[in-house]
């Protein structure tokens, strides 16, 4: 049976799988953990850092691959929906940066918090939302993460603080969340993500000062994709070593296209913060394939060749795929199955996102205060004063039968 399968197995045209037959045999022999070497990290004010030799087991490999594929597909679907004018307004896509999010999530434990900016669809998925909820939120439907009320800038989950519109606004908030954790003696960290464009915001340095002063368990992570909207980092920052910008806060540079490097770096950083040694500043060197948002084609400040080059040489998903298939942890067909499954999941999500209904207008007056009596809302004229019909969105949903 095995030989029949081995002979029948034909590797796909563009795969980098070398010895096909040996792969299948080692799979059945089932080594659970495989060792990989990742690119070494650059350290700032640290004597030792994360290990460059990491292990990966089969379950994790399939899980990571699936998650990255979901994010990639979901972002493409969002892009296509935007082009069909089903999503309006802002839409910032994460394609190319999946390894950062999935890698970081892999190192997080229960109770760790994340706060990021508006390139957050991937994170919202990883922290509990379904693809349906995310895509429906972007199209503004009831099935959405916050019932279609906010879009990209307003997605929340347990221990996920958004989804923030103002550039760099989340940096002090992240330090605040970490402060709460320290106050409550929790052994948790808060991952505060921001981009290379927001790395020059003043409040980051204020937050860093307070974090170092009070030893807060916050990890400031700069997702450096090389461009702040259309400005390359060399034209925006006097120092492009974002992991050193914390000055007195130790920093680590990580290859953000390698999920295993990211995971290891975060695991080490969490250990560091849990031990009470204070904040850290990480930099993920990553790349985004789409433009800054859907209104930016992404090719006016860089060439299409550059993007294609990164896709060919540094793509997080294909890179990871090649590694795990070559090492024998998984087979290519398993991954193809996952691809198909992911595609279906996203397609269904797209269908619901395009066909579901929208909240009724009374939802405008809901969820204003958490603990007051029914409010009187003034309209455009004195005659248009409305007494809050429902206090919470839950009540609104009950009234339309969605709960």
């Amino acid at each position: 049976m095995l030989s029949v399968l081995s002979k029948g197995f034909k590797p796909a045209a563009n795969s980098t799988v070398a010895a096909a037959t040996t792969v299948t045999s080692t799979r059945l022999a089932s080594t659970n953990d495989v060792n990989f070497t990742v690119q070494s990290y650059k350290l700032h004010k640290l004597d030792n850092g994360p290990k460059t030799s990491v292990t990966l087991n089969r379950t994790d490999a399939l899980d990571f691959y699936r998650k990255m594929q979901v994010i990639r597909r979901m972002e493409s679907a969002a892009g296509n929906l935007y082009k069909e004018k089903k999503i309006r307004g802002f839409c910032h896509l994460y394609s190319g940066q999946e390894a950062c999010a999935v890698g970081m999530k892999a190192a997080m434990t229960e109770g760790d918090a994340v706060i990021t900016a508006y390139r957050c669809h991937g994170w919202t998925y990883l922290l509990g939302s379904t693809t349906t909820q995310i895509l429906a939120e972007l199209t503004g439907r009831i099935a959405g993460n916050v019932y279609g009320k906010g879009g990209s800038m307003h997605m929340y989950e347990k221990n996920f603080y958004g989804g923030n519109g103002i550039v760099g606004a989340q940096q002090p908030l992240g330090a605040g969340v970490a402060f709460a954790m320290k106050y409550r003696n929790q052994k948790n960290v808060c991952l505060t993500l921001y981009g290379d464009g927001a790395a020059n915001q003043g409040q980051l340095f204020e937050a860093t000062n307070m974090a170092k002063l009070w030893g807060l368990p916050v990890i400031f992570i700069c997702e450096n994709n090389g461009f702040g909207m259309g400005t390359p980092i060399e034209r925006a920052s006097a120092s492009t070593d974002y992991y050193t910008r914390g000055d007195y806060v130790p920093g680590i540079w990580v290859d953000g296209m390698d999920i295993l490097a990211v995971r290891e770096a975060l695991r080490w950083s969490k250990e560091y913060c849990d031990a009470g040694k204070g904040p850290l500043m990480l930099e993920m060197a990553t790349y985004r394939y789409h433009g800054h948002s859907m209104s930016d084609p992404g090719t006016s400040y860089r060439t299409r060749d550059e993007i294609q080059n990164v896709r060919k040489t540094r793509d997080p998903i294909t890179g990871f795929k090649d590694r795990v298939v070559t090492s024998g942890l998984v087979t290519e067909d398993e991954l193809k199955e996952i691809d198909k499954d992911v595609r279906k999941e996203v397609e269904e999500a797209v269908k619901i996102a395009t066909t579901d209904g929208v909240l009724p207008p009374e939802a405008l007056y809901a969820d204003i205060y958490a603990n007051t009596a029914t409010q009187e809302i003034r309209g455009a004229t004195i005659d248009e004063t409305v007494k809050q019909p429902f206090k919470t969105t839950t009540e609104v949903l009950k009234s339309i039968g969605r709960l």
Binding site: K10, K83, K85, E337, D341, K344, E348
Partner: protein
């Protein structure tokens, strides 16, 4: 069809399945689509419940699974798009990030990346198709290369609300030779139409075709030098085009042009110049004329025929002496006080309005003024006025009082003078005690650069006093100007 796990599926799926797929029942196809039986049942029923792309595909001529690619909205304001060029041909593989085609939007030409990975099965609009509405199907992508053949004759069944204009390409040389009034080829295939206005003009004049000319532009476009070189090498002549004469609209209204006489055109020019350059201001006053009329009748009884106009001239002359600030000319940004009082009288003749001058009106008596005026009017009507008799003057009176219906009017100053008095017709009115009295209005139109409102007011007050009480003309009446205001301080 039982699903065989493992690597051998690749053999079957790639080779046999496309051939047997059309024969399979819908249920089996669905099961194949939803993949493993290991998938939760929910997925399949949800799949069947919701209207999906796959469902729609199979309802028509059982084509293999494919993805329909509509024209995307590449900018929020885009409504129509033109496909400039295709970067992939039918049958080509498309991977994530590959460009499918270049689309020209309302703002710019942008590349359209493929929404899905797979193989391009069918292109529905060729390069050069203009004004395709957003959402219209432009191509089909399939995941298997072998499915490409199934779409060879695929047609989009959905009708569009707008019909797309047929592509106008450069491959129609006859169009360039049509007369100027008819439509020009505006756009066509990519880059063969990218040309500047000068080049376009040359093409139009010489009836050129882009294919014949060597291009040296950075985007493979034709430059002016290329076109000129071609014309020179072929020694072409510009094409004569028939231009239709512009048709004048027939004027159906009947009218007659009255040519201006010399004198009228001069008057017109001077009036225009005066009105445009001199800032006119107007002050009006009503003058009671009972006593004046009585005096006139009295004199008539004594066989002395004088008119109201003569009294006016005398009154104005005395006024100008009393208020010399009104007897000025404006020159070199200053008011120049005139030494003599020469009053021009406006006389209407057939050829136009002329103003003969009564020189030294302040030194003439009423009789003298009357005689002079009559003599001048006679000469004027006979067109025998000498130039020195109507050129000059320091003040003008224009009297329309003989046309009794005119209550008041304003006149245009005759430069280089600075004022003109417009006299209206007499009106009979009742006063407070219900006694009838008659009065007429005069309007002093003056150059507000040269004469102040105060001076004008004093002049009119003086005139009004003089004329409403003619006896006062013998006695110099006490004027406000003679009042020493410094005594008030």
């Amino acid at each position: 069809m039982r699903r065989i796990p493992g690597p051998s599926i690749s053999l079957i799926s790639n080779a046999i399945l496309p051939r047997i797929r059309p024969c399979l029942s819908q249920i089996a196809i669905n099961r194949e689509l939803s993949g493993n039986a290991a998938l939760p049942h929910r997925t399949r029923t949800l799949h069947q419940k919701l209207e999906g792309k796959q469902m729609r595909n199979f309802s028509s001529a059982s084509l293999p699974t494919h993805i329909k690619v509509p024209l995307p909205a590449l900018s929020p304001t885009m409504e129509l798009g033109t496909i400039v060029a295709w970067h992939k041909k039918e049958g080509d593989q498309v991977a994530e990030g590959d460009l499918l085609c270049d689309i020209e939007t309302d703002k710019a030409t942008m590349g359209f990346e493929t929404p899905e990975e797979g193989y391009l099965a069918k292109i529905l609009f060729e390069a050069g198709t203009r004004d395709i509405p957003i959402g219209k199907l432009v191509c089909i992508i399939v995941s298997n290369k072998d499915d490409v053949a199934a779409f060879a004759s695929f047609k989009d069944e959905q009708t569009t609300p707008k019909t797309t204009t047929p592509p106008k390409t450069e491959a129609k040389p006859a169009e360039t030779k049509e007369p100027a009034a008819s439509q020009e080829t505006k756009h066509g295939a990519h880059n063969s139409e990218l040309m500047g206005p000068a080049v376009r003009l040359l093409f139009h004049h010489y009836g050129l075709k882009a294919e014949d000319i060597k291009r040296s532009g950075p985007k493979q476009n034709v430059l002016k030098e290329d076109a000129l070189a071609y014309i020179a090498s072929k020694k072409l002549q510009p094409i004569k085009r028939e231009t239709k004469p512009v048709q004048q609209a027939k004027d159906t209204t009947k009218y007659e042009d009255i040519p201006l006489t010399n004198i009228r055109s001069i008057i017109a020019k001077r009036l225009l110049q005066s009105k445009q350059t001199i800032p006119h201001e107007y002050l009006s006053i009503d003058i009671r004329s009972d006593k004046l009329n009585a005096l006139r009748r009295d004199l008539k009884n004594k066989k002395i025929a004088v008119s109201i106009n003569d009294f006016l001239v005398k009154g104005c002359a005395l006024g100008l002496r009393a208020v010399p600030e009104v007897n000025v000319q404006w020159s070199n940004q200053t008011s120049v006080l005139m030494q003599t009082v020469d009053i021009s009288i406006a006389v209407a003749t057939e050829t136009g309005l002329i103003t003969p001058i009564v020189f030294g009106a302040d030194r003439l008596g009423i009789m003298g003024i009357s005689e002079k005026t009559k003599e001048l009017a006679k000469k004027a009507k006979a067109n025998k006025l000498a130039p020195n008799e109507f050129q000059g003057g320091t003040f003008t009176i224009s009297n329309l009082g003989m046309f009794g219906s005119v209550t008041n009017f304003t006149a245009i100053i005759n430069p280089p003078q600075s004022a003109i008095l417009a006299v209206g017709g007499p009106r009979s009115e009742l006063d407070e005690e219900l006694n009838t009295f008659s009065r007429f209005a005069v309007t002093l139109c003056y150059d507000s650069r040269a004469i102040s409102a105060d001076s004008a007011k004093r002049f009119l007050a003086h005139l009004s006093q003089s004329l409403s009480d003619p006896e006062l003309m013998l006695v110099e009446p006490l004027l406000e100007s003679q009042f020493d205001f410094s005594k008030l301080l």
